[in-house]
Every structure is written in C-alpha cells, then in structure tokens.
Amino acid sequence: MLLVQVMQGVMEGIFLFLIASGLTLIFGVSRIVNFAHGSFYMVGAFLTYQIYPWIAEGTALGFFVTIVICGLLVAALGLLFEVFLLRRVYHAEELMQLVLTLAAVLIIRDVTKFIWGLDDVSVSLPDALAGAAVIGGTYLPTYQLVMVGVGVVVLAAVWSFLKFTHAGIILRAATDDRGMVALLGTNQAHVFTSVFAIGCFLAGIAGGFAAAFESINYLLDTRVIVLAFIVVVIGGLGNFYGALYAALAVGILKALGLLFAPRLSMVIIFLLMAAVLLIRSLRRTTE
C-alpha cells in the first residue's frame, strides 16, 4: 500500500515537474515570476482539445504530434507576450512585472472563455495509452508511465542543452550572474525571449498532457499555478534540477499525506515550502 502510494506520488511528481520546469527556467534567467504560466498551460490544453481531432484522433502518434504542435503554438504566444509586453518592464520594479503577468492571466482567461466556452471539455486518451501494466496486483497506468518518460526526455533535453550547446552555456551564465551575459557581449534580450518561449513550450505540452488526463475548463489556470509555484519555490527559484526533486517530493507527500493526514495534505505541503524558504534564509552570507 505504502509502495503503491509512493509510486503514485512519483508519477504525479513528474507531471508537476513538467509544469514547473518552464516556470523555473524563466525565473532563473529573467527573474520574472510569471503568474501567467498557468494560463499558457491552459491554452496548451485547449489547443490540444481543438487540434487533436484534426490530426489523427485516437492514435497515439497523432496525440504526440498534436502535443508538440500545441507546445509550439503556446511558445509562439509566449514569444509575442514577451516581446510586446514583458520586455518593456524588465527594468521596472518587481511588482510591475508581477502585475503585468497578472493582467495576462485575466486577459487569457476571458479570451479562452470566449473561444471555448464555459463547459468542461476533455480529450479522449488514445486506446494505446489507456491501459496499465499490472505487476502483482499493482496498476501502473501506461499513460502515466509515458508521462514519466516524457519528463525524463525533457530533463535530458534541457540538461544536454544547458551542458553542451553554446546557447545553454549563455543560459547558465545568465542564471548565475545576469551581469555576465552583458559582459559576454550576448544580446540579453534574445536570451530572455528564447527562454520565455522555451518555458511556454513546456507549459504548453504539460497542458496538452493534462487535457487527456483530466477534464479541462477555463479555471485550469489558477488550479495549477499555485502548485507549480510551490514546486518551484521548494526546488529553489530558478533551479531547474531543484524543481525535479521538489516536484517528486510534493507528489509523494501528497500521495502519502492522504493515508496519514488526509485533510492536511495541502497544509503540509505549504508548511514544507515555508520551512524550505526559512531554512535557506538561515544560511546567511549576505544581507
């Protein structure tokens, strides 16, 4: 029982990681806390609902193709948002940036309502992905295993991107020291824009996967953003790998929490977040 719940938690954690990874990448580079991340995720989910029937409904391949297309579309949307709006406030106060992303949440939500209406919609899981591997009475659903696989692929892709490519090295430099990017003579704006687009791409595909996993409506944005924030904060804002550990921890904590303290699982997770933040602050080196 315990083991089943832990495995359940791992699978949920990977899914959380998919959502949170983009958020943490964006913060790491541009120090923007993007409240609209959940909205981009929601747009990804609705686009998947819209586009899947046009591609090849019912097939697993069509499903994956759809998700990649939707990821790209969301990335394009994020790109526009970054270039036309966000870029203008990089030098303003933090609060202005936050409020701008909050405004984006309001706008995207109403546009979503306008296009796709108020009712729940849902994407049917392709049959090939709907089953489960049964090992000794324990069910390991194919779809969640696939998501674990996707999580690993994203992790590997981002890891090798950061490690091996020129752009990745600039990115790492940008995360560690933003002044350094300017010194390197790189066009900082390009770095910010591309990372924002990559973050939105990740949000978009996470939303696509969610569309087949749960039922989606215009409230999806706020439903997901708080949890994503918790993961990012526990992992260390801007820390890509930290987000993975945090996502797994939150997933497992949620799954085990309902065995031992069923009504307190969210409270426990928030307390974990508070504790992590405070413990980090105790390691004072600079004030």
Binding site: R31, V33, L85, R88, V89, A92, E93, E94, L95, M96, L98, V99, L100, L102, A103, A104, V105, L106, I107, R109, D110, V111, K113, F114, T222, V226, F229, I230, V233, L237, R263, M266, V267, F270, L271, M273, A274, L277, L278, R280, S281, L282, E287
Partner: protein, 328 residues
C-alpha cells in the same frame, strides 16, 4: 472623494513647506464633509457603493503601506482582511463575545496573524518573501475552507451580527466614514513620522538603512503588523457591512483586488489606495455591468497603466496639479 489627502509625494520634504509632514486638516474636513453629505443625500444603492469604496480604500491603503513604503510585496493580504471578518464572527459564535468586543477582536486577530506570519516573512526578502506570504495565505485559506465545524466551510458564517449593525445604510455609511477617515489619518501619521521615515528608508534601501543602524527585519515586521491591523479593520467593517463572512474574504481574489488597486492608484504615493479603490471599483462595476468579459477589460487597462503610466492615477493627478501650479 479622496480622504486624508495631503501632498501626494512620498518625500513630503519639510522644506517644501513647513507643513508637509502635518495633515492638511482643511482638505480632510472638506472631503469628509462632502462624503458625509453624499452619504446622507444619496439613494441607498449609491450609499452601498460608497461604503464599499471606503472600506476598500482603507484595505488598499493598508496594503500600500507595504507595497509603496516598506519594500515588501504581499501576495496574501486578503488573509488579514478576511481574518478581521472571521475574528469578529468567531469571537461571537465560538467565544460568546458581545458584538462590541467582537468588533475590537477582528482587527486584533488580523494583527496577531500579521505578527506570526510577518515574523516568518521578514526572514526573507524580495520575491522569496512574497512567495512566503502566498504560502501563509494558502494555508489560512485551506484551514478556513476545510475546518467546516468551526468556520462553516464554504457556506461561511452569517447571522452573528446584524447587517450594518441594524442601522440605516446612510447611518452605517457615516460610521464607516468615521472609522475609515481615522484609520487613514493614522496610516498617514505612520508614514509621515519618524517611524514612517524609518520604514521608508528600509523599504527603499535596506543596505543603506542598515548602515544607518536600522535592522530590516524588525522594521519591516512593524510595518507588516500595522498593515495587517488596518486591513483587519477594513475586513471587520466589511464583515459587518454584509453581516457574514466566507472563505472568499481571505481568498486570492481579494488579494489580487488589493494589488491591482494599489498599482492603478500609483505606487509610491500615499493616495494610491484611495485613488485605486475608487477607480478599480468603478471600473469593476461598470465593466461587469455592460460586458460579460469584464476581466478582459480590467486586464487590458492594467496593462496600459503598467506600460504607459507606472505612477498610476496618483502620478496623473500630480502631473496635472504641477501643470496648474506652474502656470501662474
């Protein structure tokens, strides 16, 4: 409309007129009188709207103390607003307080939680602190929402206090006017006093303030508790106004309302909360009345303000006043 409005600059330099640090009583009296007349002569519905604006003006002004002056961002300020209303309700329903005592208890409960959460939050700075305020708010919301036996869960608590204390709307409006005026004047006193100067120094540049001998944490904590207290006053009034309390009052929507009011009103000016509450509520009501996609309208206006006039309405007012003053 704006109450307690003096010179709207953050640096009310003493040299710019020896009275910059004192209250312009004539202006206050004029605004209060005008507001009182409005309350008495208006039809009930307008009175309700005025009451709502006054309560939110206080809430946003309290939040503004944090945002504009103390250098903190709170993503969970509705907690202190809502806890004011819950403090009132729970002290009556669970501790059998008389109503008068419950009204006092509301802001104190808010301030108490401001102290507890504040102690945690000031350990961190910038966005990290803001994230912790969010976590505190979510915990509070979860507890209030789920602790069904005590808080009534999502169907809240009602009937513990007569709506508007059983007064006629305009009478209650006058009560609110008095409380809000006094509270905003107190906030003014806080901002433009030695303590306020300290808070502003810490808020603008904690390193310089530390080199002057001010510890950031303790001073930000003071600001946090004061802000929580006055948010609690606003929340208590709101609880009496509606005669009820729901988890929504500590929820994220009220937090966002407050933030947007301050930004619309104009960061770094004392009047931000007052201007912001008036404009935001006006906008909110009008847009929602005529347009199903009112959030879109509000969102677009916020974008325009952030990009075009980051100093908000207060900045606009200041520019207009400056222009008039320059022209003899």
């Amino acid at each position: 409309m704006a109450r307690g409005e003096g010179p709207p600059t953050e640096s009310g330099s003493a040299l710019q007129g020896r009275d910059a640090y004192s209250i312009n009583w004539r202006l206050v009296a004029a605004v209060v009188l005008l507001q009182a007349i409005l309350l008495v002569v208006s039809p009930p519905l307008l009175v309700f709207a005025l009451i709502e604006v006054m309560i939110f003006a206080l809430y946003a002004s309290a939040l503004n103390l944090l945002l504009s002056f103390s250098g903190m961002v709170s993503f969970g300020h509705a907690v202190y607003f809502g806890l004011g209303a819950y403090g009132l309700a729970l002290s009556i329903t669970h501790f059998d307080f008389p109503i008068a005592l419950g009204i006092v208890a509301g802001p104190l409960v808010a301030a108490f939680f401001g102290l507890i959460y504040g102690i945690l939050c000031v350990q961190l700075t910038a966005i990290y602190a803001a994230m912790l305020t969010l976590a505190c708010a979510e915990v509070t919301y979860a507890v209030v929402f789920q602790w069904f036996d005590v808080t009534g869960g999502d169907s809240g608590i009602s009937g513990h206090v007569p709506t508007m204390l059983g007064l006629a709307p305009y009478q209650f409006g006058l009560v609110v006017l008095c409380v809000v005026t006094v509270a905003i004047l107190m906030l003014w006193r806080v901002v433009y006093s030695p303590l306020g100067l300290t808070i502003r120094a810490v808020g603008q540049n904690p390193a310089r303030a530390a080199a002057l001998g001010h510890g950031r944490k303790s001073i930000q904590l003071i600001a946090f508790v004061i802000s929580a207290f006055f948010s609690g006053v606003a929340g208590t009034l709101f609880g009496i106004f509606h005669g009820n309390v729901f988890p929504d009052y500590v929820g994220v929507l009220f937090t966002v309302d407050g933030l947007l009011m301050v930004v619309l009103g104009g960061l770094y000016s004392f009047g931000a909360g007052i201007y912001g509450a008036i404009i935001y509520k006006l906008l909110d009501n009008l847009a929602a009345h005529y347009f199903q996609y009112w959030q879109l309208v509000v969102g677009v206006i916020i974008v325009v303000v952030v990009l075009v006039s980051p100093s908000g309405i207060a900045g606009l007012v200041r520019r207009i006043v400056d222009r008039f003053e320059r022209r003899p």
